[in-house]
Amino acid sequence: MSAQAPTAIELREVFKSFGKTQIIRGVNLAIGKGERHAIIGPNGAGKSTLFNLISGRFPVSTGEVRLNGADITRLKPYQINRLGLSRSFQITNIFHRLSVFENLRCAVLWSLGYKYSFWQALNGLTNANERAEEVMEGIGLTRRRDTLAGLLSYAEQRALEIGITIAGGADVILLDEPTAGMNRSETAHAVELIRKVTAGKTLVMVEHDMGVVFGLADRISVLVYGEVIATDAPAAIRSNAAVQEAYLGTTANNH
């Protein structure tokens, strides 16, 4: 990726400590617009923490986070979301007592400008309803439209999780282990889904399944003990000595 390409997400010298424990230790990362970027690394490397810093769930200790060139370091999650960044969660994070359709409608309301309206009937908001139906179709849950989200199967909940994330039309999507806990066919299905719904958008994902990572990503960053030890195209990452030693080495030996 050339230096002049506009960046969707940029991290500059980002540090994060919980008490005395430093979890993120000076991460610099630039992700270009439209790029599919995967973050990999061993357990406890700080991948999810990094997501939480970018999306505003946790404040950074020091450093700077930029979204489409704008500083978002101190912003709240909802402010960051309004600027066009949306994320999913590793542990399914949906509205359990609302139907599938209502989950998706909740996810589109702000982006369509309805804000805190208590003078408009939801059922009359044609564009919100159509958008929710469209996303529902996209994630393959149309036949579960009126089922409470809490009653869906695990794989369906994961699909809904992605649906909620993309429904608002954000152009930067962060997916935290979207295929975690899925079997082989569910994973294949999820990969297709992700490819489809994030077309033309910037995608950043944390993922453990190397098949998914190498199949989807344009570039990969390897995070080890809170530091990015390499960022490169998949082929280059595969042959990177430092990466092999730190992370892939174990999997390579298994083959």
Binding site: Y78, R87, H96, R97, C106, W110, Q120, L122, E137, T142
Partner: protein
Amino acid sequence: MSTGVLRFKPINVGRYLTWGLFALLLILAPLVFSQGFAITMLTQMGIWIIFALSYNMLLGQTGLLSFGHAVYSGVGAYFAMHALNMLSSGALVFPVTLLPIFGGLFGLAFGVIFGYVTTKKSGTAFAMITLGIGEMVFAASLMFPSFFGGEGGISGNRVVGKPFLGITYGPATQVYYLVALWTFVSMIAMFAITRTPLGRMANAVRDNPERVEFVGYNTHMVRFLMFALAGFFAGIAGGLSAINYEIVAAESLSAQRSGGVLLAAYIGGVGFFFGPVIGAILFTFFVVYIATLTQAWLLYLGIFFIAMVMFAPGGLASIILMNLRVAKAGLFHRLWKPYGWLAAAGLIAFLGFVALVEMTYRLSDTGGGAMSLFGITFDVRSALPWIVGALVLGVGGFLYRLTWIRFRDQWDDIQRIIQERTA
């Protein structure tokens, strides 16, 4: 649309029918229950319906447990009463019919002021702050007698201005219809709010506040707006009570009243829009009618509340809906008999329990002597009534256990059949 989903949307006949029937019920109720006592009770039911529904905008819809909701109805009542007195003195001119709006606006204003701070937190912290504000406002009401009228409160006369079409609000029936009108309008407004972006996002905040922040909504703002709106409707209820009683005292701001509305909403069922309506009706019935029968009414209400929390956390509304589901499946005929046995056994246990409670009350209250219960006169200081009471309770309780097991088996069987049909 690419989705190709074409949905036929007829006018929702069922909903219009429900509201129409409810309006008819409001109109006809005082004709059926025409004694003065019944009219008074119906009027209070209307006020409590608005109050309980406004409370449920917080508890049921937004997941906010408030221990200080009486503040907003109470403040509404005080300001409405002052406005009424200004009408009497000629300082203000507007019809008494619109007085509740006045209460509503002040409920809203205080909802905005206190709500902004309170709703910064949720969960336990929220509950604690509402409790604190409730105590604070109650204490303030005794500290500023010029506005609140001290212990005695302030009073007024609702018959002011020229009669409009013969309406003076002198007779209780006219006050009832005023309350009925406001109840109907407020209910429709509160129901409509549940179907707006804010109303739906309030549900989302209740279910999962964290996720709400990641779809662009500020949870504090959602909670705050719901809180302020709940204050508005509580204020309307307060304004109506000012007109109804023609007196507002510190009691209207009390923790007891805040607890009462929690009880009413919960007994009715906070998970359903109409739940608090049922709860308010039952609660008023307890407060107004059962209280005339026994001084131990609060004890019965408390026990009933505990029983609901333990055995039917969805409230009466959920019990009704579950039975309707059975009826819809055409299986209710299988429940008549088990229900009958259950009711009979429950009644026996209940009578025994009531006898023991009333005798205890009598003994501690007046030191005993002759008392009359269920048409039987006896001496509380003799052992026999106690033995009989305990025996009836014991036998009733035992029979209840037995019939409950039969009922539950039948019920579970029916639920299984319904499950299999829908699967």
